[in-house]
């Protein structure tokens, strides 16, 4: 059985359908990428997995059906969520932001904080700085760090490279590779196809709420539609 199994997932905002019959699997320790343009439903998909939307269908994580579970219960099962970098507690300092994430894994606060600072040394340097004064890359690192503080087995990353300079993206990529080495399963939702193809073992193309294509990076590179739309070739 897959570690995360999403089957016929549908999500709505009022009457507007944001996701239509989305199905995919993620194996334990794997890293998959959901690519697609703005408004395709990538964030809605991650929000649904973490329990922030009303959805229909089936999401099974580690053998547990997530339907009607609260976000708290879902995080407790071992799913961590790093939303887009704008979603930080901007008037708090870096350490307090991380501690909000640590609430469920209180007994492991020091251990997890140590790991986060080791993985993201910039956060240790800036731990007393207000989150609103951080650069874009630092904000993204903080978002990652906060998700890591929940002690996750599966990490959902929403647009980790959004609006970042190439040098900062390469730092985020290093962090991602380190995370993969720890055995954490990762789902990345991204517009940056090159980045996602480099780090994910399998990709899915999400357009207008539907998964229209799926395969390994090599397979998708060979697809004419992907080459034309995302690489302009």
């Amino acid at each position: 059985m897959a570690f995360l199994e999403v089957k016929d997932l549908e999500a709505y905002y009022g009457k507007a359908q944001a996701l239509k019959s989305v199905s995919f699997n993620v194996e334990k320790g794997g890293c998959i990428g959901i690519i697609g343009p703005n408004g395709a439903g990538k964030s809605t998909l991650l929000d649904s997995i973490i329990g922030l939307t009303d959805w229909r269908g089936q999401i099974i994580f580690n053998g547990v059906d997530l339907h009607r579970l609260t976000p708290r219960a879902i995080v407790k099962l071992g799913i961590g969520y790093a939303p887009e970098r704008g979603n930080l507690f901007t008037y708090m300092d870096v350490k307090d932001n991380l501690l909000v994430g640590a609430y469920l894994a209180r007994e492991k606060i020091d251990e997890n904080l140590g790991e986060v600072f080791e993985m993201l040394p910039r956060l240790e340097e800036r731990q007393k700085q207000q989150a609103e004064t951080l650069s874009g890359g630092e904000r993204q690192m903080l978002s990652l760090g906060r998700a890591f503080m929940t002690d996750p087995k599966l990490l959902l990353l929403d647009e980790p490279t959004l609006g970042l300079a190439p040098i900062v993206i390469s730092r985020i990529a290093d962090v991602l590779e380190n995370l993969k080495k720890t055995g954490i399963t990762i789902v990345i939702a991204e517009q940056n196809v090159t980045f996602t193809m480099t780090h994910a073992e399998r990709l899915y193309l999400l357009e207008r709420g539907q998964l229209t294509m799926g395969g390994t990076p090599e397979e998708l590179r060979g697809e004419e539609y992907i080459s034309k739309t995302y690489f302009g070739v």
């Binding site: 929000d47 609260t70 976000p71 708290r72 969520y81 507690f89 008037y91 708090m92 909000v100 609430y103």
Partner: protein
């Protein structure tokens, strides 16, 4: 410990010595104003614990204050409306009043905490109005109806004992809430104000934290409500559930600095004094206009209120000190 509390200890010391200057000509009217300021500060801090910290703007705070006030007033007033009822001592009625604020608050507010934003504000306003109408219309022989309950016993007599009583309550409330605000619990509450969904996605039950904030807010509002009612020695629905009281509370918190506890405390005193000294120039409905203008100005130009201004000044001095140590100018 002492270091963290040093500013509180200085404030307590200064406020405690003020009445000693009354025989030397310090006006008693200022002492009375300070009593009113202390109660408004308690209400503003109580509102801040709930609304300033979590972002759930409550328009129903007078509901909690009025409920506590009415329970203690009803159980302790001496005149005896028809049918006659038992008069209880204040030592019993005061805690019962606070318990009523907590109990009534739980009954009415918890379901409404499932809704967010303007819906919560409107539901809380509706509860205040419902209680207002019920007090007037249902069994006025018990509640005194529109006239209210007059001639209530006082907890202590005289301006100076009342000053110390209100000051004690105010500082106990302020230091207690200040500690909560600076704790991890306070951080989570502030995080809820910034982005509740992200807090949920961090595995925190925001409902539990909001419930805690609300309970703390209800206890302090009830505490302030019972003592305030006995200080005024009367209660009536028009004053207890008035829009003016609601505005006083919210504007004290807004101009002081929401989510800071210290700010709303200062705001309470500031508003009491400014309103009193502006009374000859601003009367009747003009006060409401002045309130609105002050609040709009603060929200636009200084959203962190006086607390933010004090932070800016402190940071300016620190920068100057650092610069003079570094470069010698």
């Amino acid at each position: 410990m002492i270091r963290r509390l040093r500013w509180w200890l200085i404030a307590i010391a200064v406020m405690c010595v003020l009445p000693l200057f009354v025989p030397l000509g310090f006006p008693v009217s200022v002492i009375r104003l300070l009593v009113m300021g202390s109660y408004l500060a308690i209400f503003a801090m109580s509102w801040d614990m709930m609304s300033g910290h979590t972002g759930y703007i409550s328009f129903g705070h007078p509901f909690l204050i009025g409920l506590a006030g009415y329970v203690t007033a009803f159980l302790s007033h001496q005149e005896g409306f028809q049918p006659p009822h038992i008069v209880l001592p204040l030592a019993v009625t005061l805690p019962l009043g606070v318990a009523a604020a907590v109990g009534g608050g739980m009954l009415f507010f918890f379901p409404s905490m499932r809704v967010r934003g303007p819906y919560f504000a409107l539901v809380s306003l509706a509860f205040m109005e419902i209680l207002h109408r019920l007090i007037i219309a249902v069994r006025p022989e018990f509640t005194g109806g529109d006239r209210g309950l007059p001639n209530l016993p006082s907890v202590v007599m005289g301006a100076i004992p009342n000053y110390y009583l209100s000051l004690g309550l105010m500082f106990a409330t302020a230091i207690g809430l200040w500690y909560v605000s600076r704790s991890n619990v306070g951080n989570v509450l502030k995080a809820i104000r910034m982005d509740e969904d992200v807090v949920e996605a961090s595995g925190i039950s925001t409902y539990r934290f909001k419930r805690f904030a609300f309970l703390l807010s209800a206890v302090t509002a009830g505490l302030g409500g019972v003592f305030y009612t006995h200080y005024l020695a009367s209660i009536n629905p028009r004053r207890a559930f008035s829009a003016i009281l609601l505005l006083d509370i919210i504007i004290s918190a807004v101009i002081g600095g929401m989510g800071t506890i210290v700010g709303p405390m200062f705001g309470g005193y500031f508003l009491t004094f400014i309103l009193e000294y502006l009374r000859p120039y601003l009367f009747g409905q003009w006060r409401l206009l002045a309130y609105a203008l002050v609040a709009i100005f603060m929200v636009i130009y200084k959203p962190k209120g006086f607390y933010g201004i004090a932070q800016d000044v402190a940071s300016w001095f620190q920068t100057r000190k650092r610069r003079s140590a570094q470069y010698g100018y």
